[in-house]
């Protein structure tokens, strides 16, 4: 298997692994410094370098590529994820999966690609004055990125794990759809979450970042963006800490980067944290607030036949039926999807221990798991979480799980159990410390209705962090404008999921790609004194 990253490096791409630095570095200069190499940073690096701007990308994680991707959880989680895939909210009640490597979460996501739903744009227009953003206005930008990243209908039949969602929903008259995926020549292996070993996934690692590097961009890895220095309303430099090879401890070496413009794309936990550490103006105290997670509750089932949920495209079927049962700001709606199962992910998520746990693990190959992603941030009581700084200056996320969330969680657990039984499950249980597991839908309906829903007792996870540097039509209610430009510092932009003023109700990657393609194009035109792009 050819590894295009290793070939590119051999061909002279500029890559600085900061863990190898033996002295401080203060001479790096560029037109634009980009913090983060995920969906936002990758697209920005590509478009700015294509416009002829000199770009430096700063990434806290390591550069890993297909030759390193061995499809083993023991390697993948510590290497490719924030906090070894065990990042948590401050109370430890929600586990957060987030990438931390070149390509960010796009290197480890499950390739599910959805445009931002029209009703979300409508809500942003009404509530945050974002009149420039609509499905129509954004449609060309989504099309550009879909074409660039090969986002297409997935023609291969869904794996048995996804088929449970399709079959059960069909029995109950619940509409489902097929998930489009950003893959090219996918082998249908099922290990997307550990880095694609066949270079099929069109992540930032394989597309925009190589394009930028081929144009002479510089990629710094194992480098933590520490603080933006500003004078008046202009940022002058970014101070960075080099990390040791473990990716955790600072090595003591420092790097200072100078540029005309700075783009922060460190994700919805990292970006507000960097701006908070830097002390940028924030008179309304909006930074880090309204952080959304699509809190996920989980329903496990045992099917009569083998499911082998580790094999095949992780997510190919979805249902938005339960997003459309009430107004968008009513009781929380939820999106249903399947989850791939691998031994560590499944065993750690599954409740219980000892003999009870072993019994379920022995049926690993028959297990189906459905996820309900709760659409937070629209209901007046759903105000999300708050990113703040811990005593070591690193981000901490408080996300209270209130009654509005639990009310939706119960409906979601009921809906998933009913679908799993309708698909033929012989046993279903919410992932919940007090759930005994049920052998029929009537039994589950009664049991789940009475389950105590509380943090820790009911397992809640998240793979989608959004918000914290929200965009709006003015500094009274937003950190950046619709172009991602900061309201107070004139040479600062934010290009990632942190700009969303609510959650999305869909897996976020394509929303970030589309909006960033637009905003990076506007930024390039602005920096070069050219007319803005012709696409609206």
């Amino acid at each position: 298997m050819n590894d295009p990253i290793r070939s590119g490096l051999a061909g002279g791409w500029r890559h600085l692994d900061a863990s190898l630095l033996t002295r401080n570095l203060t001479t790096l200069e560029a037109d634009v410094v980009i913090v983060g190499s995920g969906a936002g940073g990758g697209v920005t690096a590509d478009l700015l370098s294509a416009a002829g701007l000199r770009v430096v990308l700063v990434e806290e994680g390591p550069l890993r590529s297909s030759a390193d991707f061995k499809m083993r959880e023991a390697d993948a989680y510590p290497e490719l994820y924030q906090e070894s895939a065990a990042r948590k909210t401050s109370d430890k009640a929600i586990n957060i999966l987030q990438g931390r490597c070149v390509g960010g979460s796009t290197t480890v996501n499950w390739t599910s690609s959805f445009r931002t739903p029209p009703e979300v744009f409508d809500y942003w227009q009404r509530r945050f004055g974002l009149r420039q953003l609509s499905s129509t206005a954004m449609s060309s930008w989504f099309a550009v990125m879909e074409s660039k990243l090969s986002v297409r209908a997935w023609e291969t039949p869904p794996n048995p794990n996804n088929r449970v969602l399709a079959a059960g929903s069909e029995q109950l008259g619940i509409a489902t759809g097929s998930i489009r995926r950003n893959v090219k020549g996918c082998w249908n292996l099922g290990y997307c979450g550990m880095g694609c070993p066949t270079n099929a996934k069109q992540s930032m690692l394989l597309t925009t970042i190589p394009a930028a590097l081929a144009r002479g961009a510089t990629l710094c890895t194992r480098l933590r963006a520490e603080r933006l220095r500003f004078v008046g309303n202009r940022i002058s430099a970014l101070e960075c800490l080099a990390l040791q090879a473990d990716g955790i401890r600072p090595s003591g070496r420092r790097v200072q980067l100078r540029a005309r413009h700075f783009v922060v794309a460190a994700g919805a936990i990292g970006s507000p944290a960097l701006l908070l550490r830097s002390g940028v103006p924030d008179p309304q105290r909006l930074l880090g607030s309204r952080t959304f997670l699509h809190p996920v509750v989980i329903s496990a089932a045992l099917m009569p036949d083998r499911v082998d949920a580790y094999a095949g495209a992780p997510q190919s079927i979805y249902s938005d039926h339960f997003l459309h049962q009430a107004p968008i700001d009513g009781p929380l709606g939820f999106k249903l999807e399947a989850a791939p199962l691998h031994p560590v992910l499944y065993a750690t998520t599954l409740h219980g221990f000892g003999e009870a746990h072993v019994r379920l693990m022995r049926e690993f190959t028959h297990a189906n798991v459905l996820l309900a992603l709760l659409r937070d941030g629209f209901h007046p009581e759903s105000r999300g979480g708050q990113v703040r700084l811990g005593s070591d200056g690193l981000p901490v996320l408080d996300y209270p799980l209130g009654e509005t969330i639990w009310e939706a969680a119960r409906r979601a657990l009921l809906a998933m159990a009913e679908i799993q039984f309708a698909a033929g499950a012989r046993w279903v249980s919410p992932v919940h410390e007090a759930a005994p597991g049920y052998t029929s839908w009537p039994e589950a309906r009664k049991g789940i209705a009475e389950l105590p829903l509380k943090p820790f007792v009911c397992r809640v996870v998240s793979a989608h962090v959004m918000g914290g540097c929200a965009m709006a039509d003015g500094a009274q209610r937003g950190v950046v404008d619709h172009r991602g430009r900061h309201f107070w510092l004139e040479n600062l932009s934010v290009h990632d999921g942190s700009v969303f003023p609510t959650s999305l109700g869909v897996n976020p990657q394509l929303s970030i790609y589309g909006l960033t393609a637009r905003n990076a194009s506007l930024l390039a035109a602005d920096l070069l004194g050219r007319p803005p792009p012709l696409i609206p």
Binding site: M1, K70, M71, R72, E73, A74, Y77, P78, E83, S84, A86, R87, K88, D91, K92, A93, L189, Y191, P197, T198, D246, I248, R249, Y310, H342, P343, V344, Y346, A347, T348, L350, F353, G354, E355, H357, V358, R359, M361, R362, F364, T365, G390, S391, D392, L394, E433, A434, P455, F456, V457
Partner: protein, 167 residues
Amino acid sequence: MNGARRQFVRTGLAGGLLLSFCGWLNAAGARPFAVGEREMLAAIANALLDGALPSEREARRRLVEQTVDAIGTEIAGLALATQKELGELFSLMVLAPGRMIIIGVGKSWRSASVAEVAEFLQSWRTSRLSLLQSAYAALHDLTFGAWYAHPDTWEAIGYPGPPRGYF
């Protein structure tokens, strides 16, 4: 477990107090496991993995030791703040006052039976105190993560491992 101690552990008040005390003791941060911590983690693994571990004594002991090593590797990959919190938790569980409350006066982790450790784990799992619930969750995730990351455990659950060939 006698009734009074069970109540003490379950209400968790003592645990909360001790945990803040150990935070002060353990301010130095992450370091290799001490002997007492290894014994404690081995006892926890013995209970959590009961049913997955073989019953033959020597084989079981070897696999438990291997799991404790793997827990150490897992912890080294966590944020420093989390490593410090886990150090505090482990101190609480190992030092005499905490150990006495958890597994009984005069007992060591090495001598605690699987049933005794399981009872303690269950009390934290169902505690009303989120501090103890989160401590249980940490022990659960670390132990099951360490166990099922190892390819030798996959046969028992029918997982064939990642595909091979053509790479």
